[in-house]
């Protein structure tokens, strides 16, 4: 059986031109420069290992296939290694396209819990990877301060980071509950 099902065929109804416009508005006008040569996919290490197809992603963003792009798990398989962008003969800002598509996906609720958790660590400590007791001991042993001179040691600096996350709505975006200091679900 090689025929596509009706549900697998894309039509004009799947196209949302405002999606493409978001890339253009963000200054990523090079999305329109892609001529689909496939150099990007040829060098993509995630393309070798996962269903992630970077050439197809750029095409879908240009066509306005919003749901196709943001609901696809493989959007998150890119390590942002820049191999595609370095080799692109049309100088398309491919990594910017990936990140912009992810921003739109995140707003639509497609966020991994583990990522939201890392975000919550920055809100509660200022660090994506906060200190732990073992490292405190190591730091002391080698004569560094037990706490690094970061938000860990300066509560007022941490407050600034928290204010920023509130102002930009990052706390709501990841579903952070200020009262419990944890994610809502």
């Amino acid at each position: 059986m090689t025929l596509l099902n009706d549900t697998e065929i894309l039509t004009d109804e799947d196209i949302d031109k405002s999606f493409t416009q978001e890339f253009l508005d963000a200054g990523i006008d090079t999305v329109d420069h892609c001529f689909q040569c496939g150099t990007c996919g040829g060098g993509c290490p995630s393309g070798k290992r996962t269903p992630y197809k970077v050439r197809q992603l750029v095409r879908k963003c240009l066509l306005g296939l919003k749901e196709e792009v943001i609901s696809d798990d493989s959007l998150w398989m890119c390590t942002t290694c820049y191999t595609c962008q370095e080799r692109c003969p049309r100088s398309v800002k491919i990594v910017d396209i990936v990140k912009k598509a992810r921003n739109i996906a995140a707003r639509a609720g497609y966020m991994a819990t583990a990522h939201r958790k890392t975000g919550s660590f920055v809100i509660t400590t200022g660090h994506g990877v906060p200190i732990n007791p073992a490292t405190k001991e190591l730091r002391k042993r080698v004569g560094l301060g037990e706490l690094p001179p970061t938000t860990h040691a300066f509560p007022e600096a941490l407050e600034e980071v928290q204010k920023i996350c509130k102002k930009t709505g990052f706390d709501d975006l990841i579903g952070f509950d200020e009262k419990t200091g944890e994610l809502k679900d």
Partner: protein, 302 residues
Amino acid sequence: MEIAYFLGCIMNNRYPGVEKSTKILFDKLGIDLKDMEGASCCPAPGVFGSFDEKTWASIAARNITIAEDMGMDIMTECNGCFGSLFECNHMLKENEAKKEEINEVLSDVDREFKGEVNVKHFAQVLRDDVGFEKLSSIVEKPLNLNVAAHYGCHFLKPTEDIGIEKSAEDPQILDDLIEITGAKSVPYEEKMLCCGAGGGLRSRDIDVTLSYTKTKLENMEAAGVDAIVNVCPFCHLQFDVGQTEVNKKYGTNFSIPVFHLAQLYGLAMGLGADELTLDSHLIDADPALSKVLEEYDKLAAE
């Protein structure tokens, strides 16, 4: 020379030996590392950059304003931090509208991004500000190690903006810095391949991440290296912790010691495993350390 020293997260909160070694190295080189008091996560490009550009740029810009207040350029030893801070600095310097947008956020915490400083990578400072000749002078114990140089991704790329190397296909900077210590940078297959951890992939899908790491380890082992040398604490963690995870998942038995470039210089200055916190690594560094010590004994005997 004074420079604002950006710590980040993984170096200072997991591998403090990297920080310690850097402080000793820069003390010898006569460069004053100044604390950036109250700096935070860069923030992590894979989570913040992928979720919300405005939050990412605001937190990065806040970090940059700390160095602007100090009147100094920034140095970081992590590719992720370098990627975030360099890219944000570059973007806000080039794009007036973005700068205004971010400064509107920063005004709530009484800060303003002015665009007055540069963001530099540790390896770039060693090559361009210190220079190879001066750097050679601090090597007290040349290392007879064969190592695999791991560049990582956000150190050189996008090359068009960063400009540390013209191309990232066959760069030299890390190999050159390694060889100053006496160690040999050995070629291996797919040398420029990512460690697999970046872009939020390690926390999103560890199996994909480990498939990258496994390829790297296989290629490094095939080249017969004594150690892996990196310039990024996140890659460092991926090769250290990730190596044990690869072994568990694939039933392999990789045991290649992992050094950040700063730790390699620490060894070349004669610092011990204790000071470099190598004893806290999951992958035992002893095989590489024993090889170095044997060479010293041989030289001493001659």
